[in-house]
Symmetry: C2
Subunit: 152 residues, 2 copies
Amino acid sequence: MTGDGTQRFGVLTEMSGFLLSLAQAHVYRLDEALDTLEGLTTAQLSVLTVIHENPGIRHGEVAEMLMIKLAYMTKLLKGFEASGWVERRSDPADRRAIHLSLTPAGQGVVERTLPVLLAHDAARPNGLTPREMGQMKRLLAKYLELPVTEQP
Amino acid sequence: MTGDGTQRFGVLTEMSGFLLSLAQAHVYRLDEALDTLEGLTTAQLSVLTVIHENPGIRHGEVAEMLMIKLAYMTKLLKGFEASGWVERRSDPADRRAIHLSLTPAGQGVVERTLPVLLAHDAARPNGLTPREMGQMKRLLAKYLELPVTEQP
DNA sequence: TATTGTTATACTCTATAACTATA
DNA sequence: TATAGTTATAGAGTATAACAATA
């Protein structure tokens, strides 16, 4: 690389969409080195975590929370079911709806891998101080209008 | 949707990687409604903008700045060349290297579409006050260790 | 030997639309 | 008629690796 470090992003650095996209690419690139998640992608682990946190949640609710297409959720869940991690049962009151929950095996996967990802996330290199990182996470959660987690 | 709004993200909201990923999905979803970019994706417009800001920049340098795979850059640039937007010329001093610049047509595209995306970005709905948005953008740029833009 | 860029393949995820079955 | 989920197809973008040309 012969770059002299003077490249300009121009007005791109004023655009939240661009910055978020690049930050996501940065995270994604570093997370690809993470080989300790038992073959799961971070997206897959997010789905399992949401089911873990909300046993009985509906198929479509998970998709909405994580902004995943319903069509792709079907594919993901099919894989999880084949792995024996997720159970689906239809709602007797509305037989279109499907409620999801983790099997003991699925809970085991989440309980083993989530702490690994959490530690990795906390240690991922970036240009912020710990205080600034806390600030950024709060702003991102507010940006997304996420429900406040009241964790003791 | 029968959700009662009590779904929990659990520890996911503590993870910068998850928050960035979800924020990016949020942006992406809303940007898909943007049909005024002359058929460009935001990623493609980013590439054109970087070439616009750095005439003569090398192929690989653009890829590194935008965290795009070199192999995919080749594909993108082939399309841009076919559209008559980008010119490639090889470096006489290092005949492996390829320097990029916009044609007048390419400059026209950037000058028409970039302001549209900029306005769209500024108006994109989110949970932050304008002051918080400024803060978030500053933190994201620092997170990414982007060169400071000294725009007058 | 290392670097720049090209080509090809497989994979993840998205967009879209047609479809079934319920409500 | 509208909603929950399924299936299939096309496309964007990534990872990977083999390759050619040049340094």
